[in-house]
C-alpha cells in the first residue's frame, strides 16, 4: 500500500538529481571521496560558477557536505541523504507489483 513519505525531502532529492551534471558530480564524490571545487570543475567540464551552483543544489538536498580549508572548499558525499529515494523506489515497486497481480486477476475475470 502507499504510505506517507516525507515529500519535501524527496522532492529536493529528485530535483537535485534530475540534472545529469549534478548526478555526475555527486557520483564523482561517492567514488573519489572528498574533492575541492577546483577538482570538481576540472571533472565536470563546466565553469566553476556552474559547479558552485550545482553544489548549492546538492547541499540543499543534503546530498553533499562541505568544509573550508584556507581558500579552498572541500565537498564530500553524504549518502545517507539518499535513503528517502530508496524508500520511494521500494514502496512504489511493491505497490505496482501488487497492482499488477490485481490487474492480472481482473483480466482473467473480464469477458
Amino acid at each position: 500500500m502507499i504510505y506517507p513519505m516525507t515529500p519535501a525531502t524527496t522532492n529536493h532529492l529528485f530535483r537535485a538529481l534530475a540534472d545529469p551534471t549534478r548526478r555526475a558530480i555527486y557520483e564523482q564524490l561517492t567514488r573519489q571521496g572528498e574533492q575541492t571545487v577546483h577538482a570538481l570543475t576540472r571533472y565536470a567540464g563546466v565553469s566553476q560558477p556552474a559547479v558552485s551552483k550545482h553544489l548549492t543544489v546538492l547541499k540543499r538536498a543534503r546530498l553533499v557536505r562541505h568544509r573550508r580549508e584556507g581558500r579552498e572548499t572541500h565537498y564530500r558525499a553524504h549518502p545517507d541523504a539518499l535513503a528517502p529515494m530508496a524508500d520511494w523506489l521500494r514502496h512504489y515497486s511493491a505497490f505496482w507489483r501488487e497492482r499488477f497481480d490485481r490487474l492480472e486477476s481482473l483480466l482473467d475475470r473480464m469477458e
Binding site: M1, I2, Y3, P4, M5, P7, A8, T10, N11, F14, R15, L17, A18, D19, P20, T21, R23, A24, E27, T30, A77, P79, D80, L82, A83, M85, A86, W88, L89, Y92, S93, W96, R97, R99, F100, R102, L103, E104, S105, L106, L107, M110
Partner: protein, 142 residues
C-alpha cells in the same frame, strides 16, 4: 533512437498477460475497471485531462493522487502525471504484442516530463545512476 524515458526510469514493472491488447487497454483506461485493480478514480482517456486517484486516507495522508493525462495512444501507450503529497512523478504504460498475449510495461519516474525532455540525450543516464545508487546504499539500507 534515443529514449528519454529509458534514461530516467526509476520503477519498472513488466509482465506478459495472456490477453489481447484491446482487453488490457480497457482495463487501463475504463474508469470502473481501473477502480477494480488500481484505485477509485475519475479518469477519462483524453489528453491534458486532469483526474484523481483516491485511496483510503491514512493519518498523515489524504489518500489523493492528482494526475493529468499526458499521452494517450490507444492500444499502445498511456501516460499520466502522478502527484501525491507534493511529490511529482510520471507513470508510463507501454503495450506491445507478445507471443500469446500482450507485454505490459509500467514505468514510474521521479520527475516531470518537461525535465526529462530537457535532459534527453544526456550521456549520464538516470538508470546508470541508480546502478551506482544501489552500491552506495548497500551500507545505508542495511
Amino acid at each position: 533512437m534515443s529514449d528519454p524515458a529509458a534514461s530516467t526510469r526509476a520503477v519498472v514493472i513488466e509482465r506478459v498477460f495472456p490477453h489481447p491488447a484491446e482487453k488490457v487497454w480497457r482495463a487501463l483506461t475504463e474508469s470502473p475497471l481501473v477502480a477494480q485493480w488500481l484505485m477509485k478514480n475519475d479518469f477519462e482517456p483524453v489528453a491534458r485531462r486532469k483526474f484523481q486517484f483516491r485511496a483510503d486516507p491514512l493519518p498523515h495522508w489524504d489518500g489523493v493522487i492528482d494526475c493529468e493525462v499526458l499521452v494517450i495512444d490507444p492500444l499502445k501507450q498511456l501516460s499520466y502525471s502522478w502527484r501525491s503529497m507534493g511529490l511529482d512523478s510520471v507513470v508510463l504504460w507501454t503495450l506491445t504484442p507478445a507471443d500469446g498475449g500482450t507485454h505490459v510495461r509500467m514505468e514510474q519516474s521521479g520527475f516531470r516530463p518537461g525535465q526529462t525532455a530537457a535532459y534527453q540525450g544526456a550521456s549520464y543516464g538516470w538508470q546508470r545512476f541508480f546502478g551506482g545508487l544501489e552500491r552506495v546504499l548497500g551500507g545505508v539500507a542495511a
